[in-house]
């Protein structure tokens, strides 16, 4: 069953590649705007052997990774503190609901003002977008702590730290992973956006440069690369999640009792 879905997925992808190849060749679209797959692939092949390409990927991934780490660390710490103190939770609920929907791209002018075209600009946008994804999930996770598990820990005289470490954290962990997975995708979007709009070095900037210099096949090739990065990141996050949560009912499957 799993194999079949995989095969169907690959068939769909192959279909898309064929379609992109066929549309410009049949003259249905102007090949100045959409070059056929083969030319995009050739441009990608040429690009793969250049140092600039790999530097751009490195820059994008650096901004993505640093931003993600900051956002996850901050989201987890803030989430645990706010989530376990009911007064804080109540006091911050409306503020969080107000700040969370602000699109990160609305902060581009601010980022430029503060950091110019440095890495700092990218980081600001990435962290802002990714932080809320993590925070909200951690808050859900903290709220999901089983009162019986917590009372068990208290009855065995666990201290506050031991209860966070042994009860709250394992309970929240599946939520944290979901948050990280969502944040990782959003962070990539924002990293590329920042490079594209602000001109911070990275794949986004390369796409903008390819576009302005009329290298349309290369532009498509770079866009495809960002897509592949996203798929790779999501896949890696899922594998990591499944390995770490073998005990969780969403992963462990049914066990005859």
């Amino acid at each position: 069953m799993r194999n079949r879905t995989g095969l169907l997925g690959l068939a769909g992808l192959a279909g898309l590649l064929v379609l992109v190849e066929a549309l410009p060749r049949l003259g249905l679209v102007n090949d100045a705007y959409l070059p056929p797959t083969s030319r995009i692939a050739a441009a990608l092949g040429d690009e793969l052997i250049t140092a600039e390409f790999w530097r751009a990927i490195g820059d994008t991934l650096t901004g993505w990774a640093i931003g993600l780490v900051i956002a996850v660390a901050a989201g987890v710490v803030v989430g645990i503190v706010v989530g376990s103190v009911p007064v804080l939770r109540a006091a911050t609920a409306s503020t969080i609901e107000f700040l969370r929907p602000i699109p990160s791209v609305a902060l581009i002018p601010l980022a430029v003002l503060l950091y110019g075209t440095d890495l700092g600009s990218t980081l600001l946008l990435v962290v802002y977008a990714a932080f809320w994804q993590v925070l909200v999930q951690v808050l859900y996770g903290v709220a999901d702590v089983d009162p019986i598990a917590d009372e068990t820990a208290r009855s065995f005289r666990f201290g506050a730290w031991a209860r966070v470490r042994h009860v709250l954290w394992p309970t929240a962990l599946p939520y944290v992973f979901t948050g990280v997975r969502l944040a990782a995708s959003v962070a990539l979007v924002l990293a590329v956006t920042a490079e594209l709009v602000i001109g911070a070095p990275g794949l986004g900037k390369s796409i903008a440069v390819a576009q302005t210099s009329g290298a349309v096949p290369l532009m498509y090739a770079l866009i495809a690369v960002t897509g592949l990065l996203g798929v790779g990141i999501n896949l890696a996050a899922r594998i990591f999640e499944r390995r770490s949560l073998a005990w969780h009912q969403s992963v462990r499957g049914e066990v005859p009792a």
């Binding site: 019986i148 068990t152 009855s155 065995f156 666990f158 009860v167 005990w247 066990v255």
Partner: protein, 260 residues
Amino acid sequence: MLEVSSLNKVYRSGAREVEALRDLTFTVDSGELVCLVGPSGCGKTTLLRCIAGLLEPSAGKVRLDGREVSGPPPGLAMVFQEYGRSLFPWMSVRDNVELPLKQRKIARHRRTTLVQDALDAVGLTGTESAYPWQLSGGMQQRVAIARAIAYEPSTLLMDEPFAAVDAQTRADLEDLVRALWQRLEVTVLFITHDIDEAVYLGQRVVMLSSSPTVVQDEITVDLPPARDQLHTRADPRFTELRTHVYEQIQAAKRGAGASS
């Protein structure tokens, strides 16, 4: 020794007040096995949480081994009805039993012995590396009991521990509790809604009224200490005692009906 004196608990939410416990006084001597029974909704769980130091009473005192309870007391271990939620699913059986010992900063060598002895005592040798959710309900509750006895408590609180397991498993676990109690000389307060279970297990049975709860009655179970499921339950004295408890519980329910 556990002393509960004039215990009262009122829950307040806004202007509403619910008196769960009115005035409870009873003692459990060191090394005694006492069962508490009461009609459903009689505040057993509230009482237990007050004794365990998880809930602050509105008035009255709980003293354990001479010290007043304010917060979970040392020397007390608790077995919950909801074993599936009380055991940590992210830890193996061994780690579940060992974790409270780690928190008490017991040396590794001693911990290993305690964990192994406790698991042997409840008949779970060989399941150390399994996860709780891979075991049957009865076995999970055995893990919870092992965790409690490995902690070497002077007092064991059991909150309807067998309410969620099937009848045959339940009989086995009842015998296990009596055997452990006799071997470890631990004080046991066993809360149940099952009258037969209370009479079968206890040296004494304390009957509670409906909420707001007071002690309805108290009997000494004068059955021989060596009990077994077949003969003890067929003993005419057992039947007399369970009839008495049953009548008291019925009276408690009627009393509540008349006053409300």
